[in-house]
Symmetry: C2
Subunit: 162 residues, 2 copies
DNA sequence: ATGATATTGATAATGAAAATCAAAGTCGAA
DNA sequence: TTCGACTTTGATTTTCATTATCAATATCAT
């Protein structure tokens, strides 16, 4: 039976064709691996792929991830740390994030009231809103996972300010 | 008469003393220059200082800016570009920002309703909110300044996603 | 004034991400 | 199927903002 990934591969193939780009083995592998995650960094995906497939250059991971973003399958995010996190937004509507400083858990949420107020704020100050970035940082109450997990040697600092 | 800066220099001196740090000519210069701006990058401040004062090493600018952040006089921000913007928050309450993609104008705003809803969202998902990052990107209607200004060779891209 | 301690500045080091470029792969046309 | 124009890959170098080094210099409590 055609799997979810098969469908996406086909879709990717079409997207690529339109742009005179080619469907390569590497792109299939990256797409496949990327879709198995919700939020992942290029480096992490590189490691993940290295475990189960033949070697793929890190440059290719970056290039393909950027390509997926152009195709609307992924979106770049910048949570606390200094490395870009790629958000798998396939079949997802707009959402913002809650990030746990301690265990790094990321929860997606959406709040139409906030979105509406953002519009109002922009309007009030004479701006035509195009985009926004909203991230909530704190500590999750996930005893099972958070408490004993990553007792952060690197505090996974997000935004120490605000 | 004692100027605003004099007051701040005195305050800085006290803050430093408590931490066994010393008040240097360089720190005075950086503080003075920093307070003349609302939002500025290390590099920009470096250039600005270079025009009116004796030379100050870029490393010193960075070190002092970080120090000011520790003292609560400044806060690091990351708007679109890849360089850190230092927010002069002296005598300012919490606020978020509206950024113009075209001319780079930055407007500060605050919305208690949004802040409240953020709390609710965090709570709803089992998070203890510690911090947040909210930035609104778009285009300002400042005909005078925006329309004819920086016809961005570098589009001052912010967050192309979300 | 003096010395213990902190700071500066020139420069090297970092590290994530992008740029290079020759070798290899893809795919539409023949 | 074959061919070649065009794209992609991977190894490596480059970029660029920020931090780390460290010897020389400045600060300040006593
Ligand atoms: Mn997400
Ligand atoms: Mn501000
Ligand atoms: Zn957690
Ligand atoms: Zn503008």
């Amino acid at each position: 039976m055609a799997t979810e990934v098969d469908t996406e591969i086909t879709h990717l193939k079409n997207q690529l064709a339109q742009r005179h780009l080619k469907l390569t083995r590497q792109r299939e592998i990256v797409l496949d691996a990327f879709l198995k995650n919700d939020h992942i960094t290029a480096e992490a995906l590189y490691q993940q792929i290295a475990k189960t497939n033949a070697h793929l250059g890190l440059a290719t991971i970056y290039r393909t991830l950027n390509l997926l973003c152009e195709l609307g399958i992924g979106q770049e995010r910048h949570f606390g740390d200094n490395k870009t996190t790629f958000d798998n937004v396939l079949h997802k509507k707009h959402h913002d994030h809650l990030i746990c400083y301690k265990c790094g858990k990321i929860v997606e949420f959406e709040c139409s009231e906030i979105e509406k107020l953002q519009e109002e704020m922009a309007d009030k100050h004479g701006f035509i809103l195009q985009n926004h970035k909203l991230e909530l940082y704190g500590y999750c109450k996930d005893i099972e996972n958070c408490e004993k997990s990553i007792t952060t040697p690197t505090p996974a600092v997000g935004v120490p300010t605000s």
